[in-house]
Amino acid sequence: MADTATPVLELRGITKRFPGVVANDAVDFDLRKGEVHALLGENGAGKSTLMNILYGLYRHDEGEILLHGKPLDIDSPHEAIAAGIGMVHQHFMLIPVMTVAENIVLASEPTRGNVLLDMSAAEQRVRELAERFKFRVDPRARVEDITVGQQQRVEILKALYRNADILILDEPTAVLTPQEAIELFEILKELVAHGMSVIFISHKLNEVLEIADRITVLRRGKTVATVPREGATEADLARMMVGRDVLLRVEKQPASTGETLLHVEGLRVVDDRGLEAVRDVSLEVRAGEIVAIAGVDGNGQTELIDALTGLRRPAEGRITVGGREMTHASAHQFLEEGVGHIPEDRHRRGLVLEFSLAENLVLHDYAKRPYATRGFMSPRRVLDKARRLLEQFDVRGGTPSTPASALSGGNQQKVVIAREVDRDPRVLIAAQPTRGLDVGAIEFVHRRLVEQRDAGKAVLLISLELDEVLSLADRILVIYEGRIVGEFGPSVTEEELGIAMTGGRREAVA
């Protein structure tokens, strides 16, 4: 379907230097009419810099940008939009209290007599646009009331409303559930069928292979190759991205399980709105096994994790750790009892971003010897520990005194894992431990989790990624609407899991 003759957009020899680093080194990239062109690369490979240049946020030092064969000088997002380039950022730029239509027409509102805002015309235009591309959104809904997937559609509509014919999507599936991702892909297919061109930034191999017509891989600021989808495999792409062979499946021995370390019985947990989010959950995790809880986001996983780590009081039920009653214990007591917790959101909970790496690494143990004596901290010992852990866990991009916010997501996650694993917990609760990480980092995290299992720890993995669940777990529990609706062995198929995850009523999810 792609018109192979004329590139709509061409980037030639783009070089961008930052002090001390070449972020883009003579990068070539071209986009054809009616294609989805994926830009694949590890975090920090230079994808974002390249797109920021295209979108007018940065200026390139060398090279040129050609739009429909003509040189283009883009100095601001405003000019990029005028040139027909739209961008959907990973973090949406929407105003939550305004309606979908209001958000879409913002800054180019239809008016009556040049003064009065013509809201009905705006809604009408949004509705037409949505119909043309088969979007399902209600122009009158308030943005804060719609799902993340719908918000993303609003962002896309915003670009379409401004007559974009080139759409840049920055890791669009990072925030979506598997179903929403499928719906997004349908929309993208619809868009290219209408002659639009899409640049799809990602570090997820499977989805790139699913949606892209061509794939350009960047590594350390350089173009490695541009390949058509046909014939490309995950292993090839991973090798190009990382520069070495990557284990996509974790190698592990069969589990040899011991005593039950985490025991949960009849647990009921209420969420912030007072609704029951976890309903009568019973489970146990034994030493030396990885138990995964699979499920679509928002089915009670967060509340379950909170209850199992003392961050939320259960309404009913019983939790024991190594035989000790912990139902109403505090977060501190859970830590003392040897429960490690890799939280699902490292920015919100896992790290104090303003703290240095060293300070983050003692988040649980800052008050303990040798890091503190009688209330006084020993910065030297804290730094020593940090130096040791940063090296041991191969954290790059910072020294012990670097603020955590300066690190990449993968390295931030390594810091969290280093902290949790180094405490030598008996029970390790890992919630979406690879969210937002690239293949190299995912491999690292997975290996650590298996190591913990082999060291006789009880590992509870909560994940939305079926790949991850299938490759790591010894037993799989499926959670749906707060209930455990099924237990499976590691040889279960994605289809079976997918059916269980959606309550058995819908078709399988990928």
Binding site: F18, P19, A23, P77, Q90, H332, P343, R349, M377, A406
Partner: protein, 439 residues
């Protein structure tokens, strides 16, 4: 760019700029992310720009009133007494009973007008350091303590009560007791707000303002006519008894009849050190900062967030309470209803903390600035032939308000900064921006 020697992330934690291994979170750094960077980079620059802008705007107002801004600021400068340091006075001290004298490289004149003005500035600085720390400490825990004024008043009430009682105590003990109890009073008052925040989630801004009024009216009642702590000499005057000689802080410099610089100045400097140590070297400070930056992560780390709200407020209040004691025991020696009702030094502490970015060094410098400004524009400090002091007081308030406004509007300062860079570089390619990865 600020010096990367300080490890504290707020004041100038080094920002890694080498970044191949650093990845973009999402790739247009949001305004907040950019702002966070410039705040770190501009730890010194932004407050400076803020102050310069405020003085510039103040100068325009002076101009509008038909006076010469330069001469006015010159007179304000003289009024602050800071010119003492550049004053050609005596640079030697006579050695008694000999014809010799020892030379010093600093000014040794302690009797002139400049010296007098300087003591006044430093007396104000002393109190402002303490009320500034009261706001800054709570800020580091993510709390906005508007109650510095009330906590200061509570400290003043208790210290004047203790200081004017028990006349036969030894001086050291008496002073210590008065300060300690003033500290407890300030801490106690502030802890109420912390407690309400921790238990029922009442917002500290509301509760501390309410507590300010409680301190205000309790003080007005205690020292008012017929009040239980009103002076015993003249019941027509709503004022306390005088602090006994044993309760007074020793004078460092100047004539104690003319409000001399007292030992409280060193207490305030000590408080700056304690503030820094507490935040950066104790487990309590670690907790407070963790809660201030990210309460959710602190909770996850096993820190009791609610308890830290109470502690942080109590410590804040303790600083303000000492401030009240320093004024009473240092130079005021008595407390009247009027003193309580017109005092606003606790509120200036908010500006001090904001301008000083809630750091020890920053608060010290900002307190000196505001101390100098308040004194330099006061009726007794400013040369009335150049600018009418009754207008100058308003000038202080204005500059103070502008500083607050600009500190609150960091984005504006940032914008001006970028615009300046834009002007300088024109449309030449790519000003060296930060790589996206460090956002």
């Amino acid at each position: 760019m600020t010096e990367p020697t300080n490890r504290d992330p707020v004041q100038g934690g080094q920002v890694e700029v080498d970044a191949p291994t650093q990845e973009p979170g999402g790739y247009a750094p949001s305004v907040a992310e950019r702002l966070a960077f410039y705040q770190r980079a501009g730890g010194v620059v932004t407050p400076l720009i803020t102050v310069i802008l405020a003085f510039f705007a103040g100068g325009l107002v002076v101009l509008a009133t038909g006076h010469n801004p330069l001469r006015t600021y010159q007179a304000v400068w003289a009024g602050t007494g800071l010119n003492w340091f550049f004053h050609v006075g005596n640079y030697h001290i006579d050695i008694p009973f000999t014809g010799h004298h020892v030379f010093f490289w600093w000014n040794t004149d302690t009797n002139g007008l400049a010296a007098y003005n300087l003591t006044q500035t430093l007396i104000l600085t002393t109190t402002l350091i303490l009320t500034g720390l009261a706001v800054a400490f709570a800020f580091r825990c993510g709390l906005f303590n508007i109650g510095g004024q009330g906590q200061y008043t509570a400290g003043a009430i208790v210290s004047v009560w203790v200081g004017s009682s028990w006349a036969h105590m030894s001086q050291g003990l008496h002073v210590f007791l008065a300060i300690a109890l003033a500290m407890v009073a300030g801490a106690g008052l502030a802890a109420v707000a912390g407690f309400l925040k921790a238990t029922v989630g009442a917002h500290e801004v509301i509760t501390t303002i309410m507590l300010n009024w409680i301190a205000y009216w309790v003080g007005s009642f205690l020292f008012g006519r017929g009040g239980p702590l009103q002076n015993s000499a003249d019941i027509s005057v709503p004022i306390s008894n005088d602090v006994t000689p044993s309760g007074k802080l020793p004078v460092l410099w100047g004539n104690s009849d003319l409000q001399a610089l007292h030992v409280g100045f060193f207490i305030a400097l000590g408080a700056l050190v304690v503030f820094w140590l507490m935040l950066n070297r104790t487990t309590l400070g670690y907790q407070v900062r963790a809660v201030g930056y990210n309460p959710e992560a602190a909770r996850y780390g096993g820190i009791n967030v609610a308890r830290n709200y109470v502690y942080a407020m109590a410590i804040s209040g303790a600083f303000a309470g000492i401030g009240g004691a320093a004024d009473i025991l240092g130079w005021q020696y008595r407390l009247g209803v009027l003193d309580i009702q017109v005092s606003n030094i606790g509120f200036i502490g908010i500006a001090v903390a904001l301008l000083g970015r809630n750091t020890a060094v920053g608060v010290g410098l900002a307190a000196l600035l505001f101390g100098a400004l308040v004194n330099g524009t006061s009726t007794r400090g400013l040369d009335a032939s150049i600018f009418p002091p009754e207008l100058a007081g308003n000038l202080t308030l204005m500059i103070q308000a502008l500083v607050l406004l600009f500190v609150g509007a960091d984005v504006l300062v940032l914008y001006i900064w970028q615009a300046r860079r834009h002007l300088r570089l024109g449309r030449r390619p790519a000003a060296p921006a930060r790589p996206e990865g460090t956002a």
